[in-house]
Subunit: 388 residues, 2 copies
């Protein structure tokens, strides 16, 4: 283990992710200079104070490095590796977060949207490859049966089409999406808000195990880090930034998943929303989001792929409806056909009146319609042919 | 009855509505010159042929006038009046149809989108006043219970807010909308595709009676005209043009109501769509329409009014959710609060680590949180206060 990797590891543990101040120094001068700046208190008092509190001893470069080495050794025993921005598999997409973290001064979760310092990862795939063709499928924990069904349907279809399903590992929509992606034989990535060895929710322990074997479990926090409430909101930007687009499946008016969609919007990524019954509280947030300019409604896997896929390559097919026998008639014949009655036969003149055409046009088109089998002749009149 | 009104009446019976060729002559030179042009065969052969077929005798100005007088007398006995473009109550909005009928060469229903020549009307309101603040609520005949419920909910709410509900009088969504508007004590307008004295569907006879007493029943076709299939599509443009905006409640992929929405789109009017379960075939058309640029999702009466109402006056309120106690805290106190545990008390330093703030910031904010009752002190630690 090099000093540099130990410093990435140490910093990722003592600085809460998304901090723009430290992120800028790291990007400009690397983790050693950033650690020095922190230890020499050349960054904000708040950042220094928080880091010292987390390290639990006086801030020195050596102490941070030692802490990092210990974290790396622990992670190694757990089958967890660290991926840093200097690594080849670091996803280029994260750089887009630099743009949105600029100038934000609001709530912590809105303000701290800098790219991750590093990611702790378990699973057999390269990060960049897993995320290349990926869609985030997120939504409410208190999902309805409808929401869980649709999340599963979309995620399963995406997996079968070779798309990675990214989500947050939570109860409800997230879990339904991960499970369906696994069932579809695809890659799924769970982005956690705590250490990878601390499955949260506990009831998803077996699911996280399986994702760690077939997909990827990733976190900005080192092993053992607890899932503080705020961390879910900080984490959401990683889900949005890692994916080509985000689908919101179900969300109440006040829902963390809406924030993930909001991040995708700020990042200029496709923001897709699954409509639901307007009578359902769990779709209120979805419909509010749908009313935001640029948000697209998606009702099928094909819709999602059309929105996130390459332009012109992944266009959704229109719903298939059987062609009607008269779809291929010329306009005049079609118009005449509209005037032909189903039961009591009418004369050509009467049909002309019904269809709003001249008697001559009706007399001209009716023989063709008879020949094609649309119309039958009864005595002196015409009516629609009965199906054979 | 003047000659001119008789000619309007006669023309409305022998020329199928929406015809641009005749409409242009009428607008430029009035109904007398238009009738002359028709009788002298100075318009297209097709138009002349259809008119002669309907009149049932050689085309002369006198014959058309006589026919019109008879229609007006019949209508008068039925309590039906004719409203012509020269009348004060003629809705100015219809003029927008001139724009969209220009240059169309496709199917009849797409091509023939000229303004109505005249409207046959039953009911106690002026046309222009009834339509001024009006919304079209349209959708599938084979509506689901969900669709009928939502249509009723929207139409009832619109009526209670003083908006006229316009629809096509059909089974399903249309009927649910009309009935709820009546129940809400509002004005509703049924735009029929046949003579006002030929209720279609027959099962809506009583409903049309009531609409004729409290709202308006209108048609481009004179009394006795039958409801040919094509007429529903020709009629749809009147629904779209008369209203400030159109709401599509439920529609299968292939649905006439989508055409009404399409007309509203061409007219530049708000095109609003009610989302539904993506698992419902009756919402497939709605979701396809939602994916068209400029279409807005609406989930409530307030949403509809916001879209069709005057800008800035009728903004929909955001869904009401109870304010949380800590919504008013300053950002630092809120962040510290996120680190306070629910059960086992933590020290200020531990809370600082959890919240990602410095120990000093935590020690500064905690007393305020205790004072405000958010946090309680247990021995040397802090935890969230239990509700009293």
């Amino acid at each position: 283990m090099t000093t540099e990797r130990a410093l990435w590891a140490g910093l990722s543990a003592i600085v809460e992710p998304g901090n723009r101040e430290l992120g800028q120094v790291v990007r400009r001068a690397g983790p050693f200079v950033a650690t020095e700046a922190l230890c020499a208190e050349r960054v904000s008092e708040q950042l220094v104070g928080a880091a010292a509190t987390r390290l639990g001893r006086p801030l020195t470069v050596a102490a941070v490095e030692e802490f990092g080495h210990r974290l790396l050794a622990d992670a190694d025993r757990l089958g967890v590796r660290i991926v840093c921005p200097v690594d080849e598999e670091w996803p280029a997409r994260f750089a887009d977060l630099i743009r949105i973290s600029r100038g934000y001064t609001g709530q912590v979760a809105d303000r701290d949207t800098d790219p991750p310092l590093a990611l702790w990862v378990r699973g057999p795939h390269r990060l960049d490859q897993a995320f290349e063709r990926s869609v985030a499928v997120v939504g409410a924990r208190a999902a309805s049966e409808y929401g869980a069904y649709v999340a599963g349907d979309l995620a399963g279809g995406l997996a079968e089409s070779g798309w990675t399903v990214v989500s947050g590992g939570a109860l409800g929509i997230d879990g339904a999406a991960h499970r369906a992606a696994l069932a579809g034989g695809g890659v799924t990535v769970a982005v956690l808000a705590c250490g990878i060895n601390r499955p949260y929710p506990v009831s998803h322990t077996a699911m996280f195990e399986r994702i760690g074997e077939e997909g990827l479990v990733v976190s900005e926090w080192p092993p053992d880090a607890p899932p503080y409430k705020l961390r879910f909101l900080i984490r959401n930007r990683v889900i949005a930034a890692a994916s080509a687009g985000t689908v919101l499946v179900e969300a109440a008016h006040r829902s963390g998943a809406r924030q993930t969609l909001g991040r995708a919007r700020l990042l200029g990524r496709p923001t897709l929303v699954v409509p639901g019954p307007v009578t359902s509280a769990m779709s209120v947030g979805c419909h509010e989001e749908l009313r935001v300019e640029g948000t697209r409604a998606v009702a099928s896997v094909a819709h999602v792929i059309e929105e996130v896929g390459r332009i012109g390559v992944d266009l959704a097919p229109l719903p298939v409806t059987p062609e009607r026998p008269h779809d291929r008639l010329d306009p005049m014949a079609r118009q005449v056909l509209e005037g032909v009655p189903m039961r009591r036969p009418l004369t050509a003149e009467e049909i002309a009146a019904a269809a709003g055409v001249s008697g001559r046009d009706a007399r001209r088109s009716l023989p063709l319609l008879v020949t094609l089998g649309h119309v039958e002749v009864i005595d002196d009149g015409y009516r629609l042919a009965r199906p054979a």
